[in-house]
């Protein structure tokens, strides 16, 4: 194959996925990076890609337009990242101020419009360029995408910041584009583009400083897990991870309450496990207890390294204490593998604001923690709450935590306040302020916030009882790895801070009977299939499976990623490998499809059956712990079927129609719908098992539809 034919679609795939990754990482910095955000951004990306692909027929293809579009996208990407960084000025919000779903949706739609729409058009232009050889374009695009994912995750992210990486990818892609089809007169354009990309890179840190005004940004680092930034205000240092405050130093309130309510239950505790958040001041608090030894588990080593540079010596020294042992790994993985028994396990992580963190608040995790505690051991975590009013949404959230905890521990106490500290054990606990006061005085603890002079108000029996009563009378839901309901309630709670539509919509969805969520749309889908069957239009039998495939595969990918993490823990790069497996499968499937001599509806039917088979396998595997490599194989197989289907369907459709982009567009549109509903509410609300069953139902109806079509034709 000539390079000139190889590069353009390959660059498209490589470029497109790389940009998606960087955009997602930067987006998370500004718009609350949880799975809902990812889902919305991904959905917007897929939507515009699909729209671009479908509407590409309106644009007349020409070689020069084709080349220029590549350069245009190369420029549009840094412009979008720049707009993203300065979006807070358009939104008139402070640095780090949280904005609701409405700005998030608008931003994702606008940003992806400028990048993904041209990519969609480029896909179709590539088909024209390769004289209608759609399978080849799809093939090469998938190959480019799979390689892109690997390169970004393993070569770029560990060594470059997001902007540097984006600029490098842009430079690489423009060079390749120039090399492939550039002429001498394009040399100037290329140089200009490269210079712009260089300027863009140099503007990274200055633009972050502008973003943080009026605060003073002193350091910034893109770790694998997020963007770490340090702000200095007078003597205080605040560390941010994707614009979320990790800690401020000194800020004793937060550090003290995370430790003392728990440790005061058993001041003689010897072995303490601290999951997360030690370096911001909690270690100092733990070490006030003379016999304690701490195992401190932190996922992101960069947080510790940066803190060591930023914090004063008298704080950093605690990390080096011989009573502290630091482990860099996922807390749940650590707990799974360790054989030790602890007197106290303190979960010092943020609240379950992402499905990833939610893994630490599930029944399965609580049972695991119980297993690693001594008989009188205590488990503790804290979540943001409200001091003076418990709304319905907050109640749902707190109750789900409480009842899930009850599955593992019979005794639970909850400390009221702006933060609620949950204490759980098999042995008696007490949060009576007289008792705690006694212990504080006996131990001569030099605290500033967890002190008798404040405790008597915070632990006023009226407040304690009111909170307990509110929690116990709330909805009884259990947070499970496969049904992450607490994560959803937290998202609902988060949405109540805003005044727009989002305030009601998530709340409403959480109360909606499943009939409306699942059965009704399914009925509509079945009706649509029936209607299409009546119409006897051949093209529907080729196109519907594409849309269903797009819908199904994206949801399955998301399900697998979530499930994978619950089993094997969160590890950087694994998600990239999972997605790469899928895309490699797409490539191999498309290759297989291309090699076919004959194409027929029967083949589509067989592939649809293949999807059903894989879905059944997935459903069965949710209840067992299969070996890690099987997940990669599964996604490879899924992608394989998808790639093969794409080639066959398009071949059959394009026999009678000349719309290169429709099939691809429908695939993307199906994915868009899947990504949107799965990440925003379907997965946490209905849970993984039910959702897989639902997918089986949808695909079964599609199978029947195809079988009916076979009969007709």
């Amino acid at each position: 194959m000539e390079l000139i034919n190889f590069f353009p679609p390959f660059i498209l795939g490589f470029f497109s996925l790389s940009f998606q990754i960087f955009l997602l990482r930067e987006f998370s910095v500004h718009f609350y990076g949880n799975e809902i955000t990812y889902g919305l951004l991904l959905a917007a990306w897929l939507f515009w890609g699909g729209a671009g692909s479908i509407s590409a027929s309106r644009f007349k293809f020409s070689q020069s337009r084709f080349h220029r579009l590549y350069y245009l996208v190369t420029l549009l990407f840094p412009i979008s990242l720049l707009s993203l960084r300065f979006s807070r000025f358009f939104l008139k919000i402070l640095p780090g101020e949280i904005s609701g779903l409405t700005p998030m949706i608008l931003a994702s739609l606008i940003l992806t419009f400028f990048i993904s729409l041209p990519f969609g058009i480029l896909f179709v232009f590539n088909v024209h360029f390769l004289k209608g050889n759609l399978p080849r374009v799809y093939l090469l695009e998938s190959l480019g995408a799979s390689l892109g994912g690997l390169v970004i995750y393993f070569l770029f992210i560990p060594f470059f910041s997001n902007w540097q990486g984006a600029a490098l990818i842009g430079a690489l892609s423009s060079l390749l584009a120039f090399f492939t089809f550039g002429k001498r007169k394009d040399r100037l354009s290329l140089v200009i583009i490269l210079l712009i990309l260089l300027a863009f890179t140099l503007f990274d840190l200055p633009s972050q400083k502008i973003y943080w005004k009026p605060f003073h940004l002193t350091q910034s680092r893109d770790s694998r897990y997020g963007k770490l930034q340090a702000i200095r205000t007078e003597e205080q240092i605040s560390l941010y991870d994707n614009s979320l405050l990790v800690y401020s130093h000194p800020n004793l309130a937060s550090a003290e309450e995370s430790i003392h309510f728990a440790l005061l239950q058993n001041p003689q505790a010897k072995n303490v496990l601290l999951i997360g958040g030690g370096v911001g001041g909690s270690l100092r608090q733990v070490l006030k207890y003379p016999v304690v030894e701490v195992d401190y588990v932190e996922l992101d080593p960069e947080i510790i390294h940066l803190s060591q540079e930023l914090l004063p010596e008298d704080e950093v020294k605690y990390l080096e204490s011989r009573r502290v042992h630091v482990f860099f790994e996922d807390g749940r993985t650590y707990l799974n593998r360790i054989a030790k028994q602890y007197d106290l396990i303190i979960l010092n992580l943020p609240e379950p604001s992402t499905a990833q963190i939610n893994r630490f608040y599930t029944k399965e995790f609580f049972l695991l923690a119980k297993e690693k505690l001594t008989e009188k051991g205590i488990f503790s975590f804290r979540v943001p709450s409200a001091e003076n009013y418990i709304s319905l949404e907050l109640q749902n959230f707190l109750s789900s935590l409480y009842f899930t905890l009850l599955e593992a521990f019979p005794v639970i106490e909850v400390v009221p306040g702006d933060t609620n500290i949950f204490l759980a054990s098999a042995s008696p606990l007490s949060i009576k302020h007289e008792k705690l006061t006694q212990k504080i005085e006996k131990l001569n603890l030099e605290n500033s916030y967890v002190i008798p002079q404040l405790l008597f108000a915070r632990l006023n029996p009226l407040r304690v009882d009111f909170l307990k009563e509110k929690i116990i009378s709330g909805k009884k839901t259990i947070n499970l790895d496969l049904i992450p309901i607490t994560y959803f309630y937290n998202s609902v709670l988060w949405s109540t801070q805003f005044k727009g539509l989002e305030k009601r919509i998530l709340s409403f969805l959480s109360e909606l009977p499943f009939f409306w969520l699942l059965d009704f749309p399914l009925l509509l889908f079945v009706f649509l299939l029936f209607f299409l069957w009546i119409r006897r239009k051949k093209s529907s039998f080729f196109l519907v499976p594409l849309a269903v495939m797009g819908f199904t595969t994206i949801i399955v990918e998301i399900i697998v990623i979530i499930f994978f993490q619950t089993l094997y823990g969160y590890l950087y790069g694994r998600i990239a490998l999972l997605l790469t497996s899928f895309m490699l499968g797409l490539y191999l499937g498309a290759l297989r499809g291309k090699k076919r001599k004959k194409f027929s509806l029967t083949q589509i039917l067989f592939i649809q059956f293949g999807f059903l088979f894989l879905l059944f396998l997935l459903y069965l595997s949710l209840n067992i712990r299969s070996p890690e490599f099987s997940t990669y194989l599964f996604l490879l197989a899924l992608g394989f079927l998808g790639g093969d289907l794409f080639v066959i369907s398009n071949h059959l459709f394009l026999k009678d129609h000349k719309n290169y982009g429709l099939g691809y567009g429908l695939d993307l549109m199906g994915s868009f719908v899947g990504a949107l509903i799965a990440s925003t509410f379907l997965i946490p609300l209905v849970g993984l098992p039910l959702l897989v069953r639902y997918l089986i139902l949808i695909n079964s109806f599609c199978f029947l539809f195809l079988a009916g079509g076979l009969r007709k034709h």
């Binding site: 003076n388 319905l392 008597f456």
Partner: protein, 373 residues
Amino acid sequence: MNRRQFFKTTGGVTLLSCSGMTSLLMDLYAFGGKANLSQVEARYYKKLPEREIECLLCPRFCKLGDKERGYCGVRENIGGKYYTLVYGKVCTINIDPIEKKPFFHFLPRTNALSIATAGCNVNCKFCQNWEISQVRPEQVEHKDFPPSMVVETAQRYACPSIAYTYTEPVIFFEYMYDTSKEAHKKQVRNTVVTGGHINPEPLQDLVKVVDAIKIDLKAFSEQFYADYVRGELQPVLEAIKIVAKSGIWLEIVYLVIPSLNDDVREIRRMCQWLLEEIGPEVPVHFSRFHPMYLVKNLPPTPVSTLERAHRVAQEEGLHYVYIGNVPGHKAESTFCPKCKRVVIKRVGYHIQNVELEGGKCRFCNHPIPGIWS
């Protein structure tokens, strides 16, 4: 299948969908739930033609048509008459130490029965009680708590005062006013914790029935009020002057938010204004900001910023300057401005020592202003 059968099926499914949609819409409507609201005629409003009204309670002067609500969300024009929807309807009841409000020169070591309804007439990005202030009354659960019950509860729990607090008591003015009158009949005092967005006329009436007001002076710049509060500074300053002249007890809280309102020149100007308009005896609290609500990712106030504000205020001549939300800081305590000794030693909400006799410093007999018993 022939056409007739097809249409029958389509028709059937359409009908099903429609009834389904109706049911869904009913679900949506019912989702709001039936709210527990009042319909008590508001005071301080003017009737206009065509069933319109103009509210005169706060500087927003909302002009409303029939069925429209004021900015605060808890007052509604129904057929040309203006009603408060939260009279006797509380969403929060607590018993808090008076020092928590904070009142440092008012009945120390006592508890206040603290109540609030939903609603507010501003939108501070850093609101501590946003769950109840930045919502419509239908979105929170209200309990019936008429004025007589409030007073009776205060007495039952040995609270010598009632605090109208958490949200913005201006928006439940009628309820606060009537409860205060009831309270006075039973020798229970009334304290108000407010942002000060209230018009002079209602405020003049209010000061006749309450005993102490704490005003949150959020900044000393119109720009800050516009950007982060969605309010105005001038009306708050007017309110401070009215309260000071009325003779009831006044304390001021300035929540210091790093980089937003901590400019030392602004603070100095504020202190100069207070000195000029009110005098040196008004207690001023510089409170430490903790990340909250929409700005939960802003850094908390460094203690040195608060100490600088404290120093500036003292330099300007204010006598009673405090630092709030930094438990254990020496500026939590009250110092006699004459002999400089500690007359009230505080740590957090707890008073360790009181060296006052008859409202005067035990050491040098200098009168310390406040309501001490």
